[in-house]
């Protein structure tokens, strides 16, 4: 049976035990005994015990078998192939996979066919093993639980403990995800820094990962590929500055107008419209930037006699700024609304105009929140990917002129990692090092934003 039908089978067994358990405990109750829990808890207990361990085993086996198969398949590779130049486990395994799946490109060496034949055998064994163990575990577990049904058994407590464990385990997923992110990025980054010195990565001013064959360590071909990330960070910085110089004034002033001046009707009309901007997928913004904004900027630059790259930082930054406007405005709107009316009334009482109140009372009071909002917007801009991939190009120029083409950290990550790649080369690994710095920057910005809010927030009643 394949994994999916096994899943169904376990579900069926589990519901079978649920009915059995419920029925027999009802029978016990009808016979006059006093049950500790309601009858369906006895059924639930049997059903859960039949399902959960079996499903866990199924998941482990389903994930584990491919890993074991890969190990076993590598034993088939002859030593002379292993010793050969350009030997890559990934490529060999891909060769074997293809034969296993019946995709054949030309003649395959004898050992590939042998490995594929053995693979089919392992698959059959593994399927049988999976079917037998999972079904047995389910049946036996359910049976044991079913036999525990007696009036004194505290099945509700048992069921609640199981449910509680499931709930706690779900909340551990968040931690597992973080661990997964950190480890996947850190391990590969460490391998990258073994090939390329950290100082070159952080302070080098040329980014040129294109030369694939030129592995650095020991090959004596130093200097072909260079991994200086300064141009990428400069490009990210430049685009973010453009984006923020659009989104911060527009977002902040709209937030002030909407919360201080606008009538409720205008507010209820304009606010959702602005939030519509936040709901548009980034790939749509990228398309808009590449097809509408970039040619427009280029054409208007030309008419002014300026030399504008067809993929300019200005176009990407401008569109990114549009994307971030609702982000800035809704966060600022929240903090401005949190400033108590009493402060405004006091200012009016002293004779200030509305704008004086906003500038001299409301904004200073809301400033920490606004700064935090801007920092969060920066972190969004730094992490934004699709717009820069589609509109900012790949030229790693070290330039602060927004009319030049620049590239960013995220667009390099995407370019390097899209398509087939080997995990061994410095080029691939460099993407992980970039991702590591990206994570550090965005989390750092968020951390600072939170600290600012915590430290400077005025506590009004």
């Amino acid at each position: 049976m394949n994994s999916f039908s096994l899943l169904i089978a376990v579900m069926l067994i589990s519901s079978g035990y649920f009915f059995l358990g419920t029925r027999s405990s009802k029978a016990v109750r009808t016979a006059g005994a006093r049950l500790h829990s309601l009858p369906h808890y006895y059924g639930l207990f049997a059903g859960l015990v039949a399902a959960l361990p079996a499903l866990a085993l199924l998941v482990i086996l389903a994930i584990g078998d491919d890993i074991i198969f890969n190990r076993l398949a590598l034993d088939f590779v002859p030593d002379d192939v292993k010793a050969g130049e350009n030997y890559k486990e990934v490529i060999v395994l891909a060769q074997i996979y293809n034969v296993v799946n019946g995709i054949n490109f030309g003649e395959q060496p004898e050992w590939v066919n042998a490995a594929a034949a053995a693979w089919h055998g392992w698959e059959a064994t593994s399927t049988t093993l999976k079917t037998v163990t999972v079904l047995a575990l389910s049946l036996i577990g359910g049976m044991l639980a079913y036999r525990m049904v007696n009036p004194d058994f505290r099945s509700r407590n048992a069921v609640e403990r199981i449910v509680m464990t499931i709930l706690a385990a779900s909340s551990a997923i968040a931690i597992l995800t973080t661990i997964g992110i950190v480890f996947s990025v850190i391990f590969e980054s460490m391998r990258f820094f073994a090939l390329v010195p950290v100082s070159e990565f952080l302070f080098g001013t040329t980014w040129n990962p294109q030369f694939e064959g030129a592995e650095r360590a020991g090959s004596g071909q130093m200097g072909l590929a260079t991994y200086g990330s300064v141009p990428l960070f400069a490009g990210t910085f430049l685009i973010s500055v453009v984006a923020l110089s659009v989104s911060v004034p527009v977002g902040l002033f709209s937030a002030i107008y909407l919360s201080e001046y606008a009538t409720p009707r205008v507010r209820s009309l304009v606010k959702p419209l602005m939030e519509l901007l936040a709901g548009v997928p980034t790939v749509v913004y990228g398309f808009f930037a590449a097809l509408t904004v970039a040619p427009f900027i280029r054409a208007s630059g030309m008419s002014l006699g300026l030399d504008v790259a067809s993929e300019s930082a200005l176009a990407a930054g401008l569109v990114m700024g549009i994307m971030i406007i609702p982000f800035v405005s809704s966060l600022s709107d929240d903090v401005i609304n949190a400033v108590p009316q009493a402060l405004r009334d006091a200012a009016y009482g002293l004779g200030s105009t509305q704008s004086e109140t906003v500038r001299q009372v409301v904004l200073p009071a809301a400033l920490p929140g606004i700064v935090a909002a801007v920092l969060l917007a920066v972190s969004r801009a730094v992490g934004e990917t699709m717009i820069v991939v589609m509109a900012a190009g790949l030229a790693a120029n070290l330039s602060l002129n927004p009319l030049d083409a620049v590239t960013t950290v995220t667009s390099q990550i995407v370019t390097i990692l899209v398509g087939d790649q080997e995990f061994e080369s410095a080029k691939t690994l460099s993407a992980f090092a970039l991702a590591l710095t990206l994570i550090i920057i965005t989390l750092g910005l968020n951390f600072i934003a939170l600290q600012i809010v915590k430290k400077y927030r005025e506590q009004y009643e």
Binding site: M164, L167, A174, I175, T177, I181, V283, T353, S355, R359
Partner: protein
Amino acid sequence: MSNAEKQMMPPAVAAERVAAGLAARHGRERRFRIYGRIAIGIALAFLVTLFVSIFSKGIPGFFQHYVTIEVTLDRAKLDPAGDLSVQSLYDGDARGVIRKALFEAAEASGRSGRKAAGKIISQGAEQRLRSAILDDPDILDTTQSMTFAVDDDVDSFLRGYIKRETPEKDRRINDKMIGYIDTLNEKGLISFRFSDYLIFGSASRNAEMAGIYGALVGSILTLAVCLVLAFPLGVATAVYLEEFAPKNRLTELIEININNLAAVPSVVFGILGLAIFIGIFGMPRSIPLIGGVVLALMTLPTIIISSRAAIRAVPPSIRDAALGVGASRMQTMLHHVVPLAMPGMLTGTIIGMAQALGETAPLLMIGMVAFIVDVPGSVTDPGTVLPVQIFMWADFAERMFILKTSAAIMVLLAFLILMNAAAIIIRKKLERRW
């Protein structure tokens, strides 16, 4: 000193001073208001520009030009083996049959004339003819009036993007072809109608045949995986953290973690998927299963945060009442609090799903960007999703791809608007104010 002076200022002088500055202050007030209006105006202008630019290209993208010709379906030519098998139809000369009909309709003659006329019709025509025969074998050996898409260059010409005035060597359509197109047009054989290729076609390098069907199915499969994982996990986490978790270091760590995950750029989740699921677990690339898992991890924080808010909004009196009549804490939670918080949880989930539907970058990392013609049949078949399809099409320079990309964007936006509308309706209709 200055204080004393101020105290001594007679009210009349003070009033005069205030009055003197009043005009300037009111001017500043007016300007400040205008800045606010300008800011909103700019934001809305951006919105309008964005939508106008997409819709102006997208609406024509839903249509394309078709040519209707009388095709004589000669059985001997189309089905040489005579068994109506797919192989036999492929061996048959569908191309020749269509070309012959086209030459007659366009009155094309001569070697170069036939060559030019042959370019008018899309390469997809043969496939269409074959599937028409498979659907209804009775049409063999009859003459049928059939409609085929025209080639994308011809379509661009008919739309006016390729101009007649351009010198012949600079345009992709030569004078002969224009002549034949005119002939077909005069006979009323060319029609401009709703593009069935866009909705039912799959990935293709030929603009006139390209469609979003495969990507749409991929998106649905990916979202299904994402929903199945993210909704139960998110709700369970929210319930645990809000009601049961002991206040200790570990709980605090989990909460910090969730907030941090919400701030991690989406591309990093793609790296996670690439390194863990493809690198370590050795799962295949490009499959909706991994896409769904990655998107689920990405949307989990959204769902958890909104579910917690929904649970918190259920008043304590409900809990107290349930506990008072003897329910256990778990029963209170599952029978009373969760059902009451469900509208809020669903709203958060739909918003999370809308995010996932529009997400592109992490899916590029796990290889869903591959050129896949087949429509995925299950979550383990290679596939792509709508935003990634848009990303790939955006790279192609053909005019018709630009139109179809915009049309695909409109479809994507329509889905997003539907989902957000559903979230708003659920919130308005079901959410209770306490």
